[in-house]
Amino acid sequence: MTARVPYAGNPLDAFVERMTRDLARRVSRRSFLGNVGALLFTTGVPLLPVARGAAPTAARPEAAADPGDPQTCEYWRHCAIDGFLCACCGGSIQSCPPGTEASAITWVGTCHNPADGHDYIVSYNDCCGKSQCGRCLCNRNEGDKPLYMPFKSNDYNWCAGSKVGIAYHCSTARVVGVAK
């Protein structure tokens, strides 16, 4: 019967074992715990939801390319919207609030981003299946056409094309392309 040599066949295991034993010889347990605590504290604090929630809008990293507050009607992507802003209703600029479903069919327009001068193609998908949100009504209608031009009119209830019924809750504004 031969003596069993731990990790003899795996260089990676041997390397990790050597490093661990070396660390254990040099560093005390209390020092190790202190370092781990410092690492977790330094990396963890910026991820806390409180810190992100309290950050002012102007300090958002993407603010330079995407200026404005999605919870306001003046936000550039809302140039042709007619409805309640999903960002105020538990959803976001591009996602529906819980309990609602996005209507696949929608109307599409362009909005000018003042930050980079491009005209972005924006899809205004309605979120359906619950009664009206009632918050942040926005009715800017830039580029809106009468009902007899359905593909350019935002007065339709696009929830007619959803699978959860025609109850309209709010509207998203999703960037799907760059026109010019």
Partner: protein, 149 residues
């Protein structure tokens, strides 16, 4: 302890820098004009992949390729209200129709497919199409019958 805290701080700063760089690197890439015209005039109902909404908006993923093989089918594609009444010029509409056949069809487009032209669109577009659903079903039935022979 001090060295550990310093390492942790360097690690956190590096992660933040990468995150900021990723966000800043998102430069605007222009959508090709023909595709942009599809997005602005057709995609709202036919969706990005042309699949539409069952029972409400017909899918173009199979039908456009079939219809574009016959003169009657090509006339239908130009005269269907969403196309004929769009604000696109004859040339732009011809380009969008050709783009749709080539990019939204579920099957491979044959090498002998003929692109729509502005003259062809101008020729068909002015005559109104009234019975849209019936005409579509009739043309697809004729095409299926021809394929079965």
């Amino acid at each position: 302890m001090k060295r550990g805290a310093l390492c942790a701080a360097v690690f956190a700063i590096t992660c933040s820098a990468i995150a900021l760089q990723l966000r800043a690197g998102q430069a605007a890439v222009l959508t090709p004009p023909v595709q942009a015209n599809y997005m602005l005039n057709c995609m709202g109902c036919h969706l990005a992949d042309g699949s539409g909404a069952a029972g409400k908006v017909p899918s173009v993923r199979d039908s456009m390729l079939i219809l574009s093989r016959s003169t009657a089918g090509r006339r239908y594609l130009v005269q269907v209200p969403g196309a004929a009444l769009s604000p696109l010029s004859d040339l732009e509409l011809a380009q969008v129709l050709s783009w749709m056949v080539r990019n939204l069809s579920a099957r491979t487009v044959a090498s002998d497919f003929t692109d729509f032209t502005a003259a062809e669109v101008a020729d068909y577009r002015r005559a109104p199409l009234v019975n849209v659903r019936e005409r579509r079903a009739q043309l697809l039935a004729v095409a299926a019958d021809r394929a079965a022979r």
